[in-house]
Symmetry: C2
Subunit: 519 residues, 2 copies
Amino acid sequence: MLKQDNRTAPEFTRSDPHIDELLDLMHEIADLSALGSIAEWDQNTAMPEGATTVRGFQMATIQGVLHERWTSTRLGNLLGELRQKVQQASFSDADRGLVREALRGYERATKLPRKLVEEMARVQAGSFNAWRRAREHNDFASFASWLSRTVALEREVADRLGFVESRYDALLDEYEPGMTTRKLNTLFGPVRETSKTLLERIESSGNTVDASCLEGEFPVAQQIALCERLLRGMGYDFSRGEIAQSPHPFTTSFGSPFDVRLTVHPDKRFLQASIMAAIHEGGHALYEQGSAPTLVRTPVAGGASMGAHESQSRLWENPIGRSEPYWQGKYTAVRETFPEHFAQVDVATFARALNKVQPSLIRIEADEVTYNLHIIVRFELEKALINGDVAVESLPRLWNAKYREYLGVEPVNDAQGVLQDIHWTSGFGYFPTYTLGNLYAAQIFHTLHTVFPDFDSRLASGDTTFILAWLREHMYTVGAIYLPEELIKRVTGEVPNPNYFTRYLTNKFEKIYNLPKID
Amino acid sequence: MLKQDNRTAPEFTRSDPHIDELLDLMHEIADLSALGSIAEWDQNTAMPEGATTVRGFQMATIQGVLHERWTSTRLGNLLGELRQKVQQASFSDADRGLVREALRGYERATKLPRKLVEEMARVQAGSFNAWRRAREHNDFASFASWLSRTVALEREVADRLGFVESRYDALLDEYEPGMTTRKLNTLFGPVRETSKTLLERIESSGNTVDASCLEGEFPVAQQIALCERLLRGMGYDFSRGEIAQSPHPFTTSFGSPFDVRLTVHPDKRFLQASIMAAIHEGGHALYEQGSAPTLVRTPVAGGASMGAHESQSRLWENPIGRSEPYWQGKYTAVRETFPEHFAQVDVATFARALNKVQPSLIRIEADEVTYNLHIIVRFELEKALINGDVAVESLPRLWNAKYREYLGVEPVNDAQGVLQDIHWTSGFGYFPTYTLGNLYAAQIFHTLHTVFPDFDSRLASGDTTFILAWLREHMYTVGAIYLPEELIKRVTGEVPNPNYFTRYLTNKFEKIYNLPKID
């Protein structure tokens, strides 16, 4: 029996002095991590280029202090006291989540020697530079030796962290606690098949979507103003947040729920980039801003996992933010910001434009139908790399073959292929969380439709507060108290199930592309 | 004999392992301090209001870690090894400065128990809130008890830090190492007399300066663009810097010389505020950007003291930045930015407007003639407070009497009087560094005129690079290797002497106000 219902604000029990002591240690660690995150935010939004090297030293120093804190004997002893005891009924779910996350941090830090962590940081920095140059010059060979070093280090990390079935599982678990290759295979199989089938049906239908209304001249200041308006409409609280510009959009937090910020990267010629990024990052930010204030400065404040996080960014971006009812409620903001562009464009045309399907070589430009195929290519390849089934040298060839097979397109060069993403400069195991996010999002979207039968009409009236209120109460407030699988079950009544996504995707795009029904 | 000439780049000797070990510790401390400063910069330029409390915890945590680092046994032992040894000829001036500053930090931290430092932080936070309310409601009585607590704590700090002659000296030394009340009395006496006399002569002359050209409508974006242009002209390097807006202009550094930033606070109706703040903060920033790269991440990178720092902000702001030759070289930028305002205003009128003398109640609005009188009022009062010669309750009365005596004006209420500055919410001993800065600036300005007989004509041609190059070579590059008095002697050939300032001030304002000569 779960002692604490997720409809009441989660609380740590203050009766046990060990919990208080653990909180003191966790508060210090959270504060130091937040200072590191502030420096990263600064690096992306304001830092002058000349500061790159000195900032590198500062980041390494804070990582060193954090490693020292995470491996302290006092923390180890406390967790020794608490790990069994916290299962007793007198403790709360928040206590149990706190001890679990503290243990994760402690074990990770004690299993990975400081020298290894430092070596990883060095290789990551070198690898990043090599990747940037390799992509610029379309020269995979010059990046291959760095990638091999990263593979070797990540294999060592996996071996030190430990795993049951597959080495890759140890890395997966870092981003999505409890996730395994076996579970992913079950979840991703139907996604791959449905996506491929749907893409073939769309292409063979000959039907098209006209997205030309999203192109033109869109001054950056007005795009930012529109992003702010959309974010305010979603319920993003600017008194605990801030919007800035950076080369790649991201969301970060320095003490959720009290300071959660996001960035966008407007494209002067293409409106979709900024507004969909704002809604996507807004989803991440609402999740962090919804975390219970009682959890602040602990490892259970904020999101439960990367997959849980992506579920919220994707939920707001895709099932909600690319739906016609949403834009029925919000299109006025677009028209008022850019009257000359959209006076002659009706809302249905605008919403359809946001859903144009087009197999492409580049993941971050992908539509909902093809997006997960991009992810699955990466998942299959990185899993094989880590498990030792493929060599770094054969990656470009395998990459291109998978693109041809899944998406029907083939990169003309490696810059547009295997070199496009930054992720493999730092490690492996992250990519699957994007698709997990899409699956969780569809499942939660289904639940929302069940809870609110008038979902679409409320959305069309411009109201999204009912969605935010429900998500806060049923998901956001509990932060990372529960593991992601358990969390999805609490929110939707069911463990993650890919059928919600495949049904959602099929129904949506059958309608948009007016596809003939099959059986 | 000084082993190292200040015309060569300062270097730490790498032959002695103790210096290397000390550098490791200092690097870590510098990095952690920089992270705290980044968080402060963020607080002033971007942080949402809702983050105030959580940011307070984060700042307290980093201070705690810094205190732990500054009081470490390893640091104490190392300094025990080095404090005598570093005087040997095989060590460099940079080594000696490093050990001296490390000792200052270590002794301060070990002499002030963590509990006292925490109590100071708490009182400071409470005092700040009380002061803000007191100023708003013109209610000195509600602030008096907080001020008394600050006085008591600062007296305890002074007693723990130790002093030879006067308790106030211990506090002075924190901002201006080596400075004493006795020296200040000698330096400030002539400044007070000259300022008072000059003010009386200006007032009795009946001559006036018309500053109306500085008022009007000046859109903020254009003011910022003008500030950037002026800063670029001064030689401020934007690839290692950044300009932002904040309620009060300031300069900060996160690893001099590689990341040095400044803020301004434009006033839509009054151009002087932003451009003079940009030049003032630009002076601080040039100093930090000029510190030798070899000193990065140590306590001898950056400015030698608050007085040395103010000397550079004041030098660029006043002797240079409020001179007619400077604006002969730069007025085009003003006219091009605001053509409609300045088409009919000639450069002489513009430069004169920046030098209007007007005894006022508010320090930060003061002209060069009256500015130091504002400081001397504060210096005399805070010295008496700390030494136990006056009671907090009598401050408003004494304040008003001194304003009447020195400036000939009297506050109508305490908000415009004793409550105007934030400084006394955190401590005492800072104010004198403003006037010290003015004195050092005039002395350096005199040296510059001696070195460059064509100073004014070069300035009038729009060139300031020769000034920056000279200051870098003779002052900025050595950072805080030398104590301020020694530094001023190395730069000007003479220890601080107030006559340079009094002569500068008298000559300048006799000319501007066309005063009849005396004797």
